[in-house]
């Protein structure tokens, strides 16, 4: 085993986790919602990108915004259905509805795309970068760079712009935000659209690393859950750090112990962190997005 290679694999995997989780981080921070359909939205993003590239002959760079648009549309649709429950913070209903929505998406995707596994090949995933014995693809490098750019961009948007301030107001106290003239309903729609677009974008970036199946999504939703909770609810920086840390842990645990037990080990880490630091790694945060 080459430790440096495992660290590279872990870094790529970690940035992929962080990228997949970013939409949920915002959703949880702003609307205090969990979306158990997140994994199936990832699957949809991957298949739309695959369909656009392979079937429609669209360039990969254009397929990504197409997948994002479809993802955003599904996010808006979900929020339309769950708006009342969102305002009432009816978390049990929301969990069940998002879970159900995920299964509907899975069934619909199987109907449209078939149940055969597909490969999303891109020019980047075919190009290798070799540094002596070390190896990664340009797609891997792109995942790392894009994830960093997306996190820096989101942090800037939240901390440095007027829209970000309004989103933070809603995240902290949606009722009080109304008195600042904020259309809370529109912010909730925006956050769901962002979640849908972000996870579709992440899928378009990450899916070329593995075969894609309409039945996938479970692992993605589980790992996303671990990342957002480990990172601290609503913490953008925390999610990034947790994603990368989890990727490194997964890669090293898989190489040193066994890949078969990595998910169980991840949850052990999650439980240990929550016992020692109940707010997650981004502790100190009680409510809101930051």
């Amino acid at each position: 085993m080459n430790l440096t290679q495992q660290l590279i694999n872990g870094l790529v995997l970690g940035h992929a986790y962080a990228l997949v989780a970013i939409g949920w981080t915002l959703l949880l921070g702003v609307a205090r919602l969990v979306n158990f359909g997140h994994g199936q939205m990832y699957m949809l993003g991957a298949f739309v990108t695959w369909w656009a590239v392979v079937k429609a002959g669209v360039p990969y760079a254009l397929a990504l915004p197409i997948a994002m648009a479809i993802g955003a549309l599904f996010g808006l649709l979900m929020q339309r259905v769950m708006l009342k429950a969102t305002f009432e913070q009816n978390l049990v209903s929301i969990m069940i509805m998002t879970l159900g929505f995920g299964y509907v998406l899975q069934g619909g995707a199987a109907l449209v795309f078939g149940s055969t596994g597909q490969i999303l090949d891109t020019a980047l995933s075919r190009s290798e970068i070799k540094l002596g014995e070390l190896w990664l693809t340009q797609q891997d490098l792109a995942i790392v760079l894009v994830a960093i750019a997306v996190f820096v961009g989101l942090k800037w948007l939240l901390d440095g712009t007027r829209i970000g301030r309004l989103v933070r107001m809603v995240a902290e106290d949606p009722k009080l935000a109304q008195l600042a003239g904020v259309n809370v309903r529109r912010v909730y729609y925006g956050v769901f659209a962002f979640e849908g677009a972000a996870v579709a974008f992440a899928a378009g970036m990450v899916a070329p690393r593995t075969p894609i199946l309409t039945s996938m999504g479970f692992e993605e939703v589980i790992m996303t859950f671990v990342v957002v909770v480990l990172g601290g609810i609503g913490s953008v920086t925390g999610s990034y750090v947790a994603g990368v840390a989890l990727g490194l842990f997964t890669a090293l645990f898989g190489a040193l112990v066994s890949p078969a037990y990595t998910t169980a080990a991840c949850f052990l880490v999650l439980i240990a962190v929550l016992v020692l630091r109940p707010g997650g790694l981004g502790a100190g945060s009680t409510a809101g997005v930051h």
Binding site: K175, L176, Q178, L179, A180, G288
Partner: protein, 243 residues
Amino acid sequence: MSGALLQVRDLQVDYAGNRAVDVRMLSVSRGEMVGVVGANGAGKSTLVNALIGWSRGDPVVRGEVELSGQRITAWSAHQRVRAGLALVPEGRLVFGRMTVEDNLSTAFAPKASAGQRVYSRDDIFELFPRLLERRQHLGSQLSGGERQMLGIGRALMMGPQLLLLDEPSIGLAPMLVSQVLQTLRKLAASGLAILLVEQNVRAALEVVDRLVLLERGRVVLEGPAAQMGSDPRIAQAYLGAHA
């Protein structure tokens, strides 16, 4: 009153079938400062919250609320804010995780119309110099008085035609109460309409033009502040005078 900025007719607010407010008529004109007083549970907070369509519960609201001749009864809170109503809620609520500057952000660009003033952050800092010193502090780090100033400043940033305040003096030192109320008086003198809900009747009488006494959700007495101060019902129940 014809030509009033705010007109309320037959406003009823029910919580779980219990009537909390039943106001037949209430009006506020431009530049007028109206005080709403009453005992605990009289429906004062429920009244101002219903005027702006804002509530932490789930009340049933009936009746008509007009602002500048526009019916706003069915509008949501943020729409009413954009139309020119602003509320400083009870409890000195500010965004604790945001700086003073960020607390003064607006979701829209208020328009100056019909004597309505648009305030900038600098105007707010001029009005409350203490906030300027604390501009980079988080809302949660402010004292009670500073939070109240910030709440008023945030409401003014909405460019209101009518400013609603719910018990701004609660928990403040007497000197701060006087400072806050005098600031409100100055704002009214500049043309802003103000509806002030206040338990401190003595303090309210010093600054308001007109006083409304609410009991069990109903207006039981209303008149110019100068006359209301000497009304035996006000004097005995709220000013500590003996019959």
